[in-house]
């Protein structure tokens, strides 16, 4: 079994737990991540030289972060950790890599994709101005660099990350000019019953909001019509309150994004089937409870398999590893697997509550004008997509991409794909699932055109 090539992509909570379980099963996984150090997004570690106390970086989650980082040390020598290595393609039974020592091809017998998520961006006027960042980006600036995205910051969002990041900025001494929640306050109460399945998370959310209010940070719920303005950079943010009043806040930075979206390109290139997940309004790889995809010996775990959060990611990573071991015919602890299944189901209930509390802010897209930039890479406006959908009859995203170039830029539609699906469905008056998803194309991120690539 030791010559079985098992590859884990992603060194976040899901990938690290998967590696630990694979090692326990007697395997020597190859762990690949673009980052130099483990932790993924949530437990991302500052670069050498920029370290700070864990409590400051990760708040309530410091202990969990420390455990994941400790895993990296414990597994040293028992996994083959390829750091700073991009997996840019998956074709048949091999991955194409680009690492510090150049390009290579890594064949695999089994593959766990724990590729995580990124911020869910939605366009609004001015969102490409310098000074406008994703909420998660604003958090990374603080966490890994000790920097704020500006001196006087407005935060805008529609998920649990919003009060957290805002509070972290306040604690770090930043001037938080306003916290604007695009979801209505009443939704928080509707989500309560299911959120009670994870009381700690619930308490934390309430805690951040309470602290922000106590610190005198202006907060608003149910806001609409956001618009960033300024001469060459963001200088103020306009919005409309739930009551319909127009407001404007002066600032020099805006952190704005509206939840998370799964990174699924590699699963797509691996040939996995996808299903539409109505709850998170996105296509995700089809999988069973343990993370088995439609392709034999390819598994997905964590936020890359559908948004579930860090705790669920740890469990799912381990669960996928157990499934993989079982599929290889190795002995596995069935009680442990059953336990993980139970915990995952429980967290799933909680997740449903969270999504009720933070419903997708559809009103933001409904109201945006045709001239708002949709694809920030290619500079394509919302109106071009609407025209492709209505006048040129593009029934789904790839066709709209062919006509308009949305999703054809450097980011491969990561930043505009979800919004484009929503806009396309709305323009055609059709169900969101029919808008489809942008096909993954290699390289999943830009690769250099270097002759050394000619191995």
């Amino acid at each position: 079994m030791s010559d079985t090539r098992v590859v884990v992509v992603g060194a976040g909570p899901a990938g690290m737990r998967a590696c630990a379980a694979l090692v326990a099963a007697g395997l020597t996984p190859i762990l690949i991540d673009e980052a130099a150090r483990s932790g993924g997004r949530i437990y991302q570690q500052p670069p050498q030289g920029a370290a700070r106390p864990g409590r400051e970086l990760y708040g309530f989650e410091a202990a969990k972060a420390a455990r994941i980082h400790a895993l990296e040390a414990q597994l040293a020598g028992r996994i083959d950790h390829r750091r700073e290595t991009l997996v840019w393609n998956c074709f048949e039974d091999a991955l194409d890599l680009l690492g510090p020592s150049g390009p290579s091809r890594q064949p695999f017998d089994a593959l766990i994709l724990a590729t995580g998520a990124t911020d869910l961006a939605l366009p609004f006027p001015g969102w490409t101005l310098p000074g406008v960042y994703a909420l998660g980006g604003a958090q990374i600036a603080l966490k890994t660099q000790g920097c704020g995205i500006g001196r006087r910051v407005v935060f805008l969002g529609a998920g649990p990350l919003l009060p957290l990041v805002a509070w972290q900025y306040v604690q770090a001494g930043a001037d938080v000019a306003a916290v604007l929640d695009a979801t209505p306050f009443a939704a928080k109460l509707r989500g309560l019953p299911n959120m009670l399945f994870a009381p700690a998370t619930l308490a934390k959310g309430a805690y951040y909001v309470a602290r922000l209010l106590a610190a005198g940070v202006p907060m608003a719920w149910g806001v609409g019509g956001p618009r960033a303005e300024g001469d060459g950079r963001v200088e103020r943010v306009h919005f409309v309150t739930a009551g319909g009043d127009a407001r404007v806040v002066a600032c020099d930075a805006l952190g704005a994004s509206f939840g998370l979206r799964s990174e699924t390109q590699l699963a797509d290139l691996a040939g996995c089937d996808f299903v539409f997940d109505r709850r998170t309004r996105q296509y995700v790889p089809a999988r069973d409870v343990a993370g088995r995809t439609s392709r034999r010996f390819v598994y997905v775990a964590g936020d890359g398999a559908g948004i579930g959060g860090a705790d669920a990611a740890e469990l799912a990573g381990e669960r996928a590893a157990l499934a993989l071991a079982e599929d290889l015919g190795l002995p596995v602890d069935v009680n442990r697997a059953a336990f993980l299944d139970g915990r995952l189901a429980r967290l799933d209930r909680f997740r449903r509550g969270l999504e009720t509390a933070y419903p997708f802010p559809a009103h933001l897209l409904r109201d945006i004008g045709d001239d708002t930039m949709l694809c920030r890479c290619e500079g394509i406006a919302v109106g071009a997509l609407r025209a492709a959908a209505r006048d040129k009859g593009a029934p789904e995203l790839n066709r709209a991409k062919a006509f308009t170039r949305i999703g054809m830029g450097r980011c491969q539609g990561r930043m505009c794909g979800r919004a484009a699906a929503e806009l396309l469905a709305a323009a055609r008056g059709e169900d969101l699932a029919r808008a489809g998803r942008l096909r993954g194309q290699p390289p999943v991120k830009p690769i250099p055109m270097i002759p050394e690539l000619l191995s």
Binding site: P130, G137, G146, I149, A172, G173, R233, E263, C377
Partner: protein
């Protein structure tokens, strides 16, 4: 400048130039941090007016590619600053 250092730290200083101007960063800064502590943006936008200063900070949006004097371009949010780097943002108002 766009970023602000909320948690000052010691450590080695790293010298680089931005559009010909000498500035100092700290070891452990990303190139993005190093630039945006001294400049308002990273690059010009190819398809319209205005500049870009990154967006996601996690290597996903690819908005933060900056040009180095030797012609190469790097993704600033995932590249650590190194001594002697020479950056050309092409945004004149630096």
């Amino acid at each position: 400048m766009q970023f602000v250092r909320l948690k000052p730290r010691d450590g080695e200083t790293v010298a680089l130039t931005i559009d010909g101007r000498s500035v100092e960063a700290r070891a452990g800064d990303t190139l993005m941090t190093a630039i945006l502590l001294h400049a308002p943006a990273l690059r010009r936008f190819e398809f319209g007016d205005g500049a870009r200063a990154g967006y996601c900070l996690m290597g996903a949006c690819q908005d933060c590619f900056v040009a180095l004097a030797d012609g190469d371009r790097v993704r600033a949010c995932t590249t650590l600053v190194a001594p002697g780097m020479a950056v050309r943002t092409g945004t004149r108002d630096v």
